[in-house]
């Protein structure tokens, strides 16, 4: 009997602890149909039975931008690098929204899917990855809106000057997605133990926005404190984005590289933790 078992060709082995480096990426690749269906479900189901439907994707950033324009631009009169208030805040809120949504939603992975995860197995990373993609669709719609305004301010008003660095857009997106996913899965892995974190995250993301040049330009910060803001990996992305499309702000290769490295490390820690907790999280949720 024993020798017969040895000869068997097993296709899968369920073991107590998964290896730190056993990421099962092949499995994730085979789940690509599932990922796309999750994306599509999120997109379709959210606006079913709403009157304005996907228009909400446009209404949200416009309302945010108008609020920022009134409060920070008019009342607080924060500097905007000589840009019109509206386009300045729009650029900040569009790009920040993608990162914030990715982080907020992926951090809820285990909590909001616990009933699904408790009944059937599929690569758990499929859920946060689908969140990144469905948010990308929302971002694309909002970005198109932003581009329209850029064209107006560039060609008609002549106050903004996009330049060749716009080709960096995919890099900005990749970095934000990576940071959002990395932090998101770290938090989601920890929320299976500490529920407090889920409240902290939403609040924290909002706070971090003020530590990122979203509602003010980096140049308005005194030189000696700029390093503090620059330590935030989102800073170079927001500033770079603004520089590329509006022609103001700063773009520094070293800062971008720093953010990129930061993103890689966060992502690595996130996936390691997630992968580790995936097999047994059902016992603690």
């Amino acid at each position: 009997m024993q020798t017969m078992i040895e000869k068997e060709k097993w296709t899968d082995v369920i073991k107590p602890q998964r290896n730190w480096l056993d990421w099962r990426l092949g499995e994730l690749w085979r789940a690509r149909d599932l990922i796309m269906l999750f994306v599509w479900r999120d997109f379709v189901s959210v606006y079913k039975q709403t009157i304005l439907g996907p228009l909400w994707y446009l209404i949200q950033p416009i309302l945010t931008t108008l609020t920022f324009t009134v409060i920070f631009g008019q009342i607080a009169a924060l500097p905007t690098d000589q840009l019109p208030d509206f386009i300045f805040y729009l650029s900040g809120s569009v790009i920040w929204a993608y990162f914030a949504e990715c982080l907020n939603k992926t951090s809820m992975t285990f909590i909001s899917n616990s009933s699904l995860f408790g009944k059937v197995y599929f690569p758990r990373l499929a859920v946060p990855i689908s969140v990144l993609i469905s948010n990308l669709i929302a971002f694309a719609i909002q970005f198109a809106l932003f581009l329209l305004f850029v064209l107006y301010y560039w060609l008609v008003a002549g106050v903004v000057t996009p330049n060749w660095s716009v080709v960096l857009l995919p890099v900005y997106i990749l970095m934000m997605a990576g940071l959002g996913l990395g932090f998101g899965v770290i938090v989601s892995a920890l929320t299976t133990r500490y529920r407090d974190l889920q409240f902290l995250v939403r609040f924290g993301v909002q706070l971090v926005m003020y530590a990122t040049p979203v509602i003010y330009p980096l140049s308005s910060i005194p030189e000696k404190y700029q390093f503090l803001i620059k330590a935030n990996p989102m800073t170079s992305i927001v500033e770079g984005f603004r520089y590329s499309f509006l022609g103001s702000g700063t773009i520094e290769v070293w800062n971008l590289l720093y953010s990129f490295l930061f993103m890689l490390i966060t992502l690595l820690i996130g996936i390691l933790l997630f992968n580790r907790i995936e097999a047994t999280f059902m016992d603690t949720v």
């Binding site: 017969m4 078992i5 068997e8 060709k9 097993w10 296709t11 899968d12 082995v13 369920i14 073991k15 107590p16 602890q17 998964r18 085979r30 789940a31 149909d33 599932l34 269906l37 999750f38 479900r41 379709v44 189901s45 079913k48 039975q49 009933s115 699904l116 995860f117 408790g118 009944k119 059937v120 197995y121 599929f122 133990r193 500490y194 529920r195 407090d196 097999a279 047994t280 059902m282 016992d283 603690t284």
Partner: protein
Amino acid sequence: MTLSVSVENISKQYRLGVIGNRTLYEDINRWWAKVRGLPDPLEKIGEMDYGNRADGLIWALHDISFQLKQGEVLGVIGRNGAGKSTLLKILSKVTGPTTGQIKLKGRIASLLEVGTGFHPELTGRENIYLNGAILGMSRDEISKKFDEIISFSEVEKFVDTPVKRYSSGMYVRLAFAVAAHLDPEIMVVDEVLAVGDAAFQRKCLGKLSENAGEGRTVLFVSHNMAAINRLCSRAILLERGRLIDDGPATEVTAKYLSGAAEEDGTRSWTDNEAPGTDRVRLLGMSLYAEDGVPKSVFDVNDEIFIRLKYRVGVPNTTFRCALIFNTQGVIAFASVEPTETVRSEPGVYQSVVRVPAHLLAESEYSLNVSIFASAGAKQHYVNLRNALNFQVYDSMTKPSARGDYTQNLLGIVRPMLQWDISAKQSN
């Protein structure tokens, strides 16, 4: 015959008190108690003590090993809490084992609960794709089987209607249809057959045996011994996390039923853990037949007596007791005391209800108890799910609704009805 599944020394340990929500505050609290050498202040003790606990740890599964050949259909039986669900969860990779390993050959799919991941806003068609993908099918596979799934589920007309508008029967049929058309080499089934109407149940059982015929390995968990005997050639019996029997299904189910008969069929609570409020607390309940000896397995010929004992703490408390009989995943029926009675003096009271013979079908039933007042301000004093379980079987030694029919008889009630068969009336 080649092996398909090899379960090797699987154990699963749960840490009591860690199950459930945790906050950082609790962790710090626990740590601080440990530092001072005090017992864990937040440790929860399970309601039922299986005696396999050590230092706040509980072995839900203990050193389970068995092997399955390709095409074998294995029944998994045991009382509630014996570890059946844990075993299936480990097999379907929902949670990991603490020690040991399981080797598998081929794709494994679990029907732990049908309709997992159905989204109410999406249409039947959309949900078939989504659910199929969650269960591990690729989009192409689903497209290929789409028509088959639809016709199996009998919801052709409503395929483009959001499933939130479906009746629960349609919902379940669609969900099962998707699951039944997965083509895994190994299938794990947990009582899903308990859903839908009788005709659909038969269809599902047919589909399952057909699957087995195609060389598919099936693990089937059920409380329905008749279904186990019909579908499975072999069965394993779990008790308190240990595998205590492994053999031909008929022998193992017989052992299970005789073992269950020795259970006492009573449950009681001490004063401070009794469910309820200070007005009314449930102190205990018991099940017995005419002889008055508590037991938990009844013949279909037995009249079943259920006694509830409760303490009334406040004078002039008005309420009624109710029992809900659950079986096969549905509510068989509920029964209430016909009037709300005033219990004027504080003290211990009891209510006994008789369930007539030839009412319940052969199955495992679980009882929910509630004590409530609905006249005036509605108030629930006791609301206890799965308060007690019992089993009804047909020993076939006395007349029953079966007559001399020995095969599977469907349904959750089994009244003995009168059949009049006429003489020949015309040509």
